[in-house]
C-alpha cells in the first residue's frame, strides 16, 4: 500500500536525498505501524520528536492505512532536552543575602 511521509524543519534531512519537497510517497507493507515507519527512516523516537498520523498524535503502535500521512518534526530546538535530562541532580540551595528576603 502507498502512504505519505512528511518531514518538517531539520527532519527534512531524513528524507531521501532526491526528495525535492517535504513529502514523499512510499510503498509499504500492509499492517506496518507508525513506529516501524519512523524507524525505517532513522527518525528519532521519544520526547525529542513530534510524530503525527493524519495530523493527530498517534500511539507508535497504531497501524498505518493506505493513503495515510505520517509526519514528524523535532520537538525541541534540536533535541535540546537531551542535555537537560542527562544533567545530574545537583540541586543547589536557594541563596539569600542578608537583610533581603523576598517573602
Amino acid at each position: 500500500m502507498r502512504v505519505r511521509l512528511r518531514l518538517f524543519a531539520t527532519y527534512r534531512q531524513y528524507l531521501p536525498s532526491k526528495a525535492e519537497a517535504s513529502t514523499i510517497e512510499i510503498e509499504v507493507q500492509e499492517g506496518i505501524s507508525v513506529g516501524d515507519l519512523i524507524t525505517m527512516f532513522d527518525i528519532p523516537q521519544g520526547a525529542e520528536s513530534v510524530i503525527l498520523l493524519n495530523g493527530i498524535t498517534p500511539s507508535l503502535s497504531d497501524r498505518v492505512k493506505e493513503g495515510d500521512i505520517v509526519s514528524a518534526f523535532p520537538a525541541m530546538a534540536g533535541g535540546v532536552l537531551h542535555s537537560y535530562h542527562n544533567e545530574t541532580e545537583n540541586k543547589e540551595k536557594s541563596k539569600c543575602t542578608d537583610g533581603m528576603v523576598a517573602f
Binding site: 524543519a9 520526547a47 495530523g55 493527530i56 530546538a77 532536552l81 533581603m100 523576598a102
Partner: protein, 608 residues
Amino acid sequence: MYGWHGRILRINLNQEKITIEEIDSQTAAAFIGGRGWAIKYLFDELDPMVNPLSPNNMLIFATGPLTATPAPTGNRYMVVTKSPLTEALTNSNSGGSFPTEMKRTGYDMFIFEGRAERPVYVWINENHVEIRSADHVWGKTVPETEDILIAETDPKAKVASIGPAGENLVKVASIMNDKHRAAGRSGVGAVMGSKNLKAVVVRGSLDPSFAYPGEMRDFSKQINREVGDDVKKGSSLREYGTAYVPPVTNEMGILPTRNFQTGVFEGVENIDGHALKEKYLIRAKPCYRCPIACGRETDINESEYEGSGEGPEYETIAALGSACGVDNLAAITKANYLCNELGLDTISAGMTIACAMELSEKGIIPEDDIGFSLRFGDAEAVIDLVQSMAQREGFGDLLAEGSYRLADKYGHPEYAVTAKRLEFPGYDPRGSKGMGLLYATSNIGASHMAGDLAYAEVFGVPEKLDPLTTENKAALIKRFEDAFAIIDAAGLCVFLSVRYLFEPDVNLWPRRLTQIMNHATGAGYDEESLLLAGERIFNLEKLFLLKAGFSKDDDTLPPRMLNEPMNEGPAEGQVVELEEMLTEFYALRGWDENGVPKQEKLSELGLI
C-alpha cells in the same frame, strides 16, 4: 540592590520634569521587575478608566533583573500601558539590543507621562537626561529615524521609536527598536504617538551587579554551553527561524487561513522556512546574548517587492500570508518590511486585513468604501493596505482601528477574530483547546505570549499534549500564565526559558529559573515564592482590568470559535468548549464564578 538598579526614571512630558525614584527591595522582589513592576505602578497610579490616548495615560518601559546580565536571552524589555485597541492594560515584549542598553543607563524602568507640546525624543545617557525636539524626524520611518538620532547622539546609542503609524494614532501601531524588533501588540505605538514622543534613545555602561557574581557567571555559561551544544546538533529555530512552523500548524489543521474560515492552507509549502531559507535568507540574527538566533536577516531582489530587512517570522507569515489567503512569500516579506518601517504590528495588521477581506467577499463592505474589489489571495492589496493603514489614508483609516471596530462599524462584529479586541495570533484554538482558554483569559486579550500552551499542544515542548482535549487544560493554562509572567518580569525570552530554565515537563517547575534569579538578585526566592510572584502579577493585572470595566463577559472568544465547527482537516468538527474550561480555571485561580479574585486569594498574594 543586585540584579536590579532599584532606580526608576520618570519623565513628565507636559512639564518637561525629570525625576529619579527608588523602589524598595520588598516591592522589587515581590513583583520581580519588568511586567510586574510596571503593573504595580500602573495599578497604584493610573485611573483605570483613563482614555488611553489622553495625556493622563502612562507609558512604561520596563526591564527585568536579568536584562543586561549574562543570563542567556537576558535581553528583553516590556512596554506596559493602557491599550487604545483593547481598552485593557497591555504588556508588549521586545528583544534586540535596546533593552540591554536601556538597563545600562542605570534605570530599570522609564515612566512617560503627559503629552509634549511638540514632537520630542528623549535622550538618556546615564545621568544625562534630555528632552529634545523631534520635529525633524516626525513623519519619518523607523530606520530613517534611528539613523538620524544615532548620528546626533552617540554612534553606540540604541533607539526605540514609532513610525508614521504611531504618529497617526493607528490602534495597531508598534514601538520598534533596533529597526526591526517590535513591541508590537495592542497599539502601544499609538500611546507613544499621543504623547508626541517620537523616540527614546539610550546609551550607558552601568551593568547591574550580582549577589553571587561567580555563580551567576558559571551558571549562565553552563546553560549557554548546553544550548550551544544542542544548536550544533541541529536547531530548527536557528536553521529556519520560527518560519519553520507554518507546515506544522497546517498539518494539525490550525494554521489561520482566510480569516480563520479554515485551518488548512493549500499554499503552505510556498511560505515556510525552507522556502525562506532557499530564496531570501542572508543570515540568522540573534538578539543580545542569545545562543539560538531565531531572527532572520533577509533581502528580496524581485523587482516589485525589492527590499531588505528582518523577518518574516511565523506570526507574520500566518497573519499577512495564510490568513489573507496569500502564498507569495516575497509579498509577505515585503509587507513585513513595510510594517516594521511604518511601525505596525504585523499580527494585528494582517489579521485586520484578513477580516476586511472576508467582510468584502461577503458583500458586507461595499466595494466603493474600499475603492476596489478586495478578495482573499490578493498580495498586492495586502501591501497597499498596510501602507494606507499606517497613513490612515482612505479605507486604511478604518483598518487603522483594528478588526473589531472595523467589523462592528459594518454591523458584523462576529467576523472579527479577536479576544478583548486583540487580534488572534497564529493558532486556531479549535484545534488547540488550551490556546482557546489562554486567548479568553489573558489579561491583554488574544496573545500567545501570555502563556503559550502551543509549546506543548503543538511543538511537544516540554512534552507533547493532545491539543484536542480540554482535560487538565485549565490547570496548565494557569501555570503557563504565571510562569510566563515570571519570564516577562525577569527580562528573559520565553524561547530559551521554557526549554532550559524549568523542569522538563508541562508543570513548568521553575527550578533553574529560581537559581539564576537568586544568583542575580540574592532575593531568596524558592520555586513556590517565585511562582507566587508570577501569580501575584497576573492577579494584579486582573484587578486593573476589573476596575477598567471588564467582566466575565469579556473572557470569551468570537462565535466562530465557539459555534462554528472547523470545516476540514485534523481538527474537523471541533469548536472550543470554553465554558467548561473557564469554570474550572476560575476555581483553580481562586476566583469566584464571575472571574473576580476572592479575598482569600488576594490575601495569599499580599494584594490586600
